[in-house]
Structures are given as C-alpha cells and as structure tokens.
Amino acid sequence: MVTVIHPNLDDTEAKMSARDVSVFYGDKLAIDNVSIEIPTKYVTAFIGPSGCGKSTFLRTLNRMNDTIPSARVEGEILLDGEDIYRSKMDVVQLRARVGMVFQKPNPFPKSIYENIAYGPRIHGLAEGKQELDAIVETSLQRAGLWNEVKDRLEDSGTALSGGQQQRLCIARAIAVDPEVILMDEPCSALDPIATAKIEELIDELNGRYAIVIVTHSMQQAARVSQRTAFFHLGKMVEYGRTSDIFTNPLEERTKDYITGRYG
C-alpha cells in the first residue's frame, strides 16, 4: 500500500527527505518503505498508535538507531540533499545539526550551566568563558527557562521539576544551534501545565528550526504542528497539512484513528 500524500501539499523547501526507508530490528521489519519530506519552516507531527514505528522512524533521522546493535536501515535519508547514511557521513556532526529531545527528561547529573555548556564545549562553539556564558543565556532564554534559573545556574539540573528539566533538555539541544530538532513524545512524562509550556515553546521555536515531534496526543499534534504524518503498523499511511489530516482525512484508517475508534 502506498502512502497517501495530500495533493494540496506544496512544500518546496525540504530540510530532510526520506526515500523508501525501511528499518529492521534483526529480522523484524519495524518501518516499511517510508518516504517523506520534512519542511524547513514548519512543525511536523508523527502520530499513530503505540508500536507503529513513529519513534523508530524519528530516531533514524539523526541515526540514534546506530546505538542499537541489531537495527539496520535501508533506503536513503537526505539532510540538505546529502544522504546521512552514506559511509563518509560524520555521525557526530549530523547529531549536532539534528538535535533530539527525549520522552523522559534526561538532564546530566551536572549543574544547569554545565548541562547547557555541554554541547558547545564538545563542539568547540565558544571561545572563552564570556561566549559560553552568552550561549548558555540565549539558549535558556529561547527555552523560556532563563528567568526561572538565572540565579541558580550552579544548582544540579536534576533538582529541577520535570517540566523545567524538559525545557532544560530543549535548551541543551538549542545550545549547539541545530537545524532540526527531533522531539520524541516530549510531554508524555509531564503534567498538563508543564505540557502547555512546552507546547508554547515549540510554537516559539517554530520557524527558527525545523521541528519533528512524535506524539500520542492528537490534540497536541493539532495544536502545535502544521504537517502531520499518520503511521500505522510500520507504514506511513497518510501525510498532509495538519488541518487537512484532522478535518478531511483521505484514508479510512486515519479517520478511524483520529476519531478514536482505535489506537
């Protein structure tokens, strides 16, 4: 079965494109022949029931699947027209350009300052303490966390609340000035108020970075994204503008899922 792409989709500028991507865990097929264009200026949401492969697919976009020994990827994924799975690709550089925020906030057991400074330090983005301070401040400001933590930058990052930790992780990802930010269910471990803050933050970051978000909540996809892809059983069923997917789905399975008939 071929993915249904909405005909009115007229994205000209693709930041990343996947072509015929299949992912295997050992012999098990987890992603079956997915092709998608991730636009530069929008938030793209991946929705679908648990186990449909949306997180697996997200992790192929910055090659985090490399850390799983049995995982194997076929097809090609382009970042600005270059295949990220080609043998000469520097995975370290790739991940600096394509950042990631995880389901559970995972700040390092270091100070807030050191959490943000981590990326700039390993990539040598700052010359001297002042530049580093500036990067830390900008990143925290962009993540909407600066006012809450500016007086206690030396406190441990793990001492923050769950929502603050997740914004700290977003700030940490922003600090290396990526082009794409991947978010793997970033709000699933947070309460509604913290979730609202993260969604607000995604809105603010939209346009500056290409953002891809995996979410279980269809309301969230509807609120924060402009493009939505629906995954089911390892296949991408339908892809289009978020408004179209939610109001006018072309596929029966998409309609069933968004109206809550399964999943």
Binding site: T67, P69, V92, L94, R95, F102, F108, P109
Partner: protein, 461 residues
C-alpha cells in the same frame, strides 16, 4: 545411645507428627470443605513436625553441653573421688582416663588409681543418658500433642510456618555477624595483652621492626616493635603499586565491556575476567615468585643496577594488581551500567562521541560506585596474604624504591605466628596487634565504600 540416633529419632517422630497432622487436616477439609481451611493440609503437617523436631533438637544441643558437667559433678561427689589430688594435671588426667574407659573409647587405664573412678563414671553416664533421652522424648511428645490439638479448620498454620522459616533465616544471617564479633573480641584480648608489654605508641609510630622471639619475654625491647615499616610496605604494595595496575586496567576493561564490546564478545570476556577472581591466590603467589620477581630482577640488572633484590615490592604489587582487576572492573562495570541509558542517549544525541560520553557523562555519574569498588579492592589487597608471603620478603625496609625487598602486615602475622616463640611472648602477640590494626583498617574502608555505594544508589532510584 549416640547423638546421631537421637537426631534420627527426632526426625522420625517429626515425620510421624507430619503424617498424623496432615491426615487430621485432610479430615477437616473433607468435612468442612477446602474453602473453610486457612492452610493446605501439608502446612498443618509442617507445623506439628516443627513443634516436635525443634524442641527436641534444641534440648539435645543443650544436653550435650550440660550433660558432661552433670556427670563429672556426680563423679566428684562420689566417695571414690575423695582420694583424688586436689588440683593439677594428675587429677585431670585421672578423670579423663576413667571417663574414657567408662565410655568404652579406651581399653584400660594407664594410672591404676583411676580405676576406682570408672564405676562411678559408668553409673553417672548411664543415669544422665537415660534422663536425657527420656526428657527428649517427653519434650517431643508434648510439643507434638500440643501442636496437634491446635489444628482446627481455621488454624493459620501457613503463616506460622512462614514465621518459623523467617526465624531460621534470621538465625542463619546472625551467624556471620556474631562470628565477626567473636573474631573482634578475641583479637582485642590478645591485642590488649600485647599492649601491656609494648607501648602502643612505640608500636604504631616506631620505625624499626625486628621482634626477637628468642629474647626474654619479661622486658621486651619496645624499639624492636615499630610497625611503621610494615604499614608502609602494606600500603606501598597493596594500595599504591597494586592500584596503579588495577585501577586503570580495571576501569578501562569495564568501559570497554559496557560501552564498546559487542554482546557476543562481552559474553566471553566478562566470565573470563571473573575467572581471574576465582584463581586461588597461592597460584598468583607462584606466578609472582617464580616468574615476575626474577624477570624484574633481570630487568634491573640489565638497566645497570648493582645487586637488585630478588624479592621486590614491585613483583608482589604487580601481581596483586592483576589479581584485583576483576574486583575493580566488576564494580565499575555495575555502576557504569547503572547509569540510565537516557544519559548516554542524551549525550550521543548532542553529537558527543562515545569516548566523550564516557569521559564527561558516564564516568562522572558512576564515580561514586567506581570509588567504592576501588576501596573494596584496596581493602582486599592490603589483607591479601599468599602473594606477599611468597613474593615479598620478610625484611622490614622503610623505602620508596619499588625494587627493594619489603614486607607487609600480613606477612609478619604469618611469620610471627609460625615462629618458634612461645604463645605468650610479645613477638607472637604482636601478630594479634597487627591483625587488629588490619581488621580496623579494612573494616573502615569497607564501611566507607558501602556508604558511598548507598548514597549513589539513592541518587538514581
């Protein structure tokens, strides 16, 4: 009747009680239904069996301690004992001979005067044995009857058996703790005796070690009991040279195994490393004494040193370091593996390489566990005896040169206890003082290490 037969009797009675109680419980179950029973019939059986066997075994244990005292009291009270010498070696040996003949373990007496005591002994042994057996049987019977009568459909035999099991397990774990206490107390007494002869300050801070077991025990020369060279040798070999080998190698192998090795390789290398921990230390001792020490001496000769020692601190330390590698590596392995995968993913997703992730995230996060592992390893290394006995020397040198012969606390403990000195000579007693110091130091290290590990666990759970 021997002890074995008595114990078998207790078990037999227990079995009978078990069968009887179980069939009674089955009878209840048939009349009032399975749902009315608070426990399965076999639990009722176990309950009664425990009430028979436990009191019997406890009484047998008690009687085997008290019984002989009662027997000898009885004999001493008999008219035949009036002729015995009042005290001393002869009195003891006569009593022992008479008892041996009475019990049938010796064919006849060596000392004719002991013959008169045989009959009183025989009589007393027979009487108290009879009393003991009768009491055991009565006790087992009473316990069994009492427990048997308590069986009712709603009797909670299951929870009571469970409680008994808990008590048994508790006692088992107390054995180890009480043994440690016993060791501590026995060390303390001998140490106090030693410190009565040699001033603790001379012992702890003196720099010359050369106890002479042949000298007079009355007024020991305290200046020969300075243990600093031993402490230094122990620390130099166990905590410095061995750790210089074990910490980097152990840590690196742990990092390789947790972060780089493929699962198939890890499945081979990790058990292989753990086998290293199972090699008897005496084997390491051979290796150190026969292979490493001569090699080091030859190297030193080749490097132009004149007359290097064939028993060097370096040889013992190096081999001990190799021996300790599995301890360091397995603790480091556990604590690195305990760092949540999310940390590692977070760092990798920032574009860090594996080694940057290890250096900047995993090792700092796992550091408390690693430190604890190192401390446990040190406490093992400084308590290690066989390798140093075989490869280090008995010469107490205070030197920083690793090629020099050195001795350690454990080597001197062995030397002092196996020497020719009498048991109350300060040279022999010094072994207890050394053991006491070693015990306190390793106890302290283990204590700190466990505290560190505990705090580390709390951070992640």
């Amino acid at each position: 009747m021997s002890l074995t037969i008595l114990l078998l009797l207790a078990l037999g009675l227990g079995l009978a009680g078990w069968l009887a109680a179980r069939s009674r419980a089955w009878a209840f179950r048939r009349t009032s239904g399975a749902s009315a029973m608070a426990a399965l019939p076999s639990y009722h059986g176990w309950y009664v069996a425990l009430w028979i066997v436990v009191p019997m075994v406890l009484f047998i244990a008690l009687w085997s301690v008290v019984g002989p005292h009662l027997v000898s009291q009885h004999v001493l009270a008999s008219p035949a004992a009036a002729d015995l010498p009042a005290f001393g070696f002869k009195r003891e040996s006569m009593l022992a001979e008479a008892r041996a003949v009475a019990m049938g373990t010796a064919p006849g007496v060596f000392n004719e005067e002991a013959r008169a005591l045989i009959e009183p002994y025989r009589e007393a042994i027979g009487r108290y044995q009879f009393i003991g057996i009768a009491a055991v049987l009565v006790l087992g019977f009473l316990g069994g009857v009492w427990a048997f009568l308590r069986i009712k459909p709603d009797f909670t035999a299951r929870t009571r058996v469970e409680r008994t099991i808990m008590v048994v397990l508790l006692l088992a774990s107390l054995v180890a703790i009480l043994t440690t206490l016993g060791i501590f107390v026995s060390l303390v007494f001998e140490t106090i005796r030693f410190f009565g002869m040699v001033n603790p300050i001379d012992f702890l801070f003196g720099t010359h070690w050369g106890p002479d077991p042949m000298s007079s025990a009355v007024n020991p020369d305290a200046s020969r009991y300075g243990a600093i060279p031993l402490f230094w040798g122990t620390i130099y070999i166990g905590a410095i040279i061995a750790m210089v080998v074990a910490i980097p190698l152990g840590l690196m192998s742990a990092i390789y195994l947790t972060q780089y090795a493929k699962p198939s390789l890890r499945a081979w290398v990790k058990p292989a490393l753990e086998i290293l921990a199972g090699v008897p230390t005496v084997v390491y001792g051979y290796f150190a004494a026969l292979t490493v020490a001569p090699a080091i001496r030859d190297l030193a000769l080749a490097a132009g040193m004149s007359n290097p020692s064939s028993e060097s601190a370096l040889a013992a330390g190096l081999v001990m370091g190799v021996m300790i590698i599995p301890f360091v590596s397995s603790m480091a392995d556990d604590s690195i593996a305990a760092v949540p995968q999310a940390m590692r993913d977070g760092s990798l997703a920032m574009g860090a390489t594996t080694s940057e992730t290890i250096r900047r995230v995993l090792v700092p996060a796992a550091l408390p566990g690693i430190v604890a592992g190192v401390m446990l390893a040190i406490s093992r290394a400084i308590g290690e005896t066989m390798i140093v006995v075989m490869a280090a020397s008995t010469a107490a040198n205070l030197s920083a040169n690793p090629l020099e012969a050195m001795t350690t606390v454990t080597v001197q403990i062995v030397a002092m206890l196996t020497g020719e000195g009498s048991f109350d000579h300060p040279a022999t007693l010094s072994a207890f003082a050394l053991g006491f110091v070693l015990f306190l130091v390793t106890l302290g290290l283990n204590f700190i290490a466990l505290r560190v590990v505990k705090r580390f666990r709390e951070a992640y759970e």
